[in-house]
Amino acid sequence: MIEVFLVLLVTALSASLLGVFLVLNKQVMTTDALSHTILLGIVLAFFITDELRSPLLIIGAAAVGLITVYLIEFVTRSGLMKHDAATGIVFTGLFAAAVILVSRYADDVHLDIDVVLMGQVLFAPLNRIDIFGISLPYALVQLTILLMINTLFVLLFYKDLKVSSFDPVYAAAAGISTVLIHYSLMTLVSITAVTAFDAVGSILVISFFAAPAATAYLVTKRLSHMIWLTLSTAAFNSLAGCALGYFTDTSIAGSVAFISLLTFFIVFIFNSTRLLSKVYKKA
């Protein structure tokens, strides 16, 4: 059980860290788009390998994830439609293509979107890997590495991320390549999302990207504070949700996602009188 919690915690931290910038850039729904389009990557990779447990499936998913992100950006930047409309059209189009491929060519294969969408964190510890003689859950190792990469990215480009999130015009004027920063961020988001979908299921990943960062954003305006609050909220949500799921014997991913919504709302209601913001400022 402790391993299940650790997988949740590491996933929560790596996703919510990037979530801070998605919330600030108003692009969280891109992760929802990713959760659907990766099916196309999985299907295409499956046609090549003809095997359901091949690591190529994850690579295919990540590749289509990147294509999704770039396609949405490309359509939005062409100025032909708004970002949300572009997101809606791109992801449903790719998803429809995937559904047709499955139903026409792989109907007899157990290639189920439930598996992708619902993901079972309980099963994460079953898939193990040996590192220096210690047996660890594969997902835990993968996500820890991603957490380190994401942390490194945020630390190295902290200033650029900050300026391009809060004042993109100034950032461009100051010679920061907002486009490069943005595409690097979205690339990391896509890779993190796909790895995390595999471990805990897509709904919970969307929640990890959105809820902790938005909860922190209610209380503070300073980026450094927001990051710390986001990470703490993510850890709290995982712990509380994991406990709820464990003791009521219900879906852990579902419980954590629901607890994240509750946490957000409790902060939201208390903060409607600006109470928490004031307390937080004083502390």
């Binding site: 409309a85 059209i89 209610l218 879906s251 579902g254 994240s260 957000f264 939201f268």
Partner: protein, 291 residues
């Protein structure tokens, strides 16, 4: 040619064409207001409603499950509205939080009833959520037509108010239009269309039918009425060709086929429409020469 005159094809085509035309018109409002993805979030939020309705009544009756779905959809919408109006949280974040939180609740509740001997016959719930690619029956066409016609009549009655509300909500308020009412009205029409489309195209893909026709319309015109007309035609045309493709070829479900037809229309419009890439390039070049 056989397909075009076959009875079952005509029944399915009639249903999808009416649905897509209505969704094209109603969806235009959300797209113009920059709220395209609200249908996606509300659609996910109906999941716990279905499970709760089943838990409370213990029967797997479509009409009861729809009532549960619509109620939770409305609650989700009101929460989203409250979050964006009373804090600095953007619509995008609010949608993602509500979508995942509600769907998570649905997952937790579903896993609870599945492990509980007090509840029997839970296997139908998934079909309801992910939509069945089963053939549409005549009774479904009646339902779709009824819902679409009601939505369209409501839309026509409030046409002037909706138009002003879309383009200038502040002005709408000052001349005494009940903005909240219009907002809820559009939401109810959207949810009803989502519910009607569940069986034929599935909850995820209905989002596309609510967005794509409007985008096509906006590429061809700036006038509200023409945008709506183009959207309705594009929706209807794609629904017809999509249904034809799925009937002619085996193993292609109707919903995805319609979406692919719509996607092709979007790509063509992005290139060739008056506001599209090709003409824009041409105008730029002309401008460059004249300078």
């Amino acid at each position: 040619m056989d397909i075009l005159t076959s009875y079952s094809f005509l029944v399915v085509a009639l249903g999808t064409v009416i649905l897509a035309a209505a969704a094209g018109i109603i969806g235009s409002v959300s797209v113009l207001k920059g709220q395209s993805l609200i249908g996606d979030a509300v659609g996910h939020a109906t999941f716990p409603g279905v499970v709760l309705a089943f838990m409370l009544t213990g029967v797997m009756e479509t009409s009861i499950l729809i009532i549960g779905a619509v109620s939770l959809g409305i609650i989700a919408f009101l929460l989203i509205n409250m979050m964006t109006e009373r804090s600095k949280i953007s619509l995008d974040s609010a949608l993602a939080i509500v979508l995942s939180g509600f769907f998570g609740l649905g997952m937790a509740l579903k896993s609870y009833i599945q492990g509980n001997p007090n509840f029997n016959g839970t296997q139908g719930i998934d079909d309801f959520i992910f939509g069945q690619a089963a053939y549409i029956l005549k009774s479904d066409v009646y339902l779709i037509s009824l819902i679409s016609v009601i939505s369209l009549i409501l839309f026509l009655i409030f046409y002037q108010q909706i138009k002003i509300y879309v383009f200038d909500p502040v002005y709408a308020r000052t001349i005494g239009i009940n903005v909240k009412l219009i907002n809820v009205l559009i939401l109810i029409m959207t949810i009803l269309l989502i519910a009607a489309g569940l069986k034929s195209v599935g909850a995820v893909l209905i989002v596309n039918i609510l967005i794509a026709p409007a985008v096509i319309g906006m590429l061809w015109s700036n006038k509200f009425s023409s945008v709506l007309a183009v959207a309705a035609c594009a929706g209807a045309l794609s629904a017809f060709s999509g249904t034809y493709i799925s009937t002619a070829l085996t193993g292609i479900a109707t919903g995805p086929a319609i979406i692919l037809s719509l996607s092709i229309c979007v790509i063509i419009s992005m290139l060739a429409a008056p506001k599209g890439i090709v003409l824009k390039k041409y105008r730029m070049k002309k401008l460059g020469e004249s300078l």
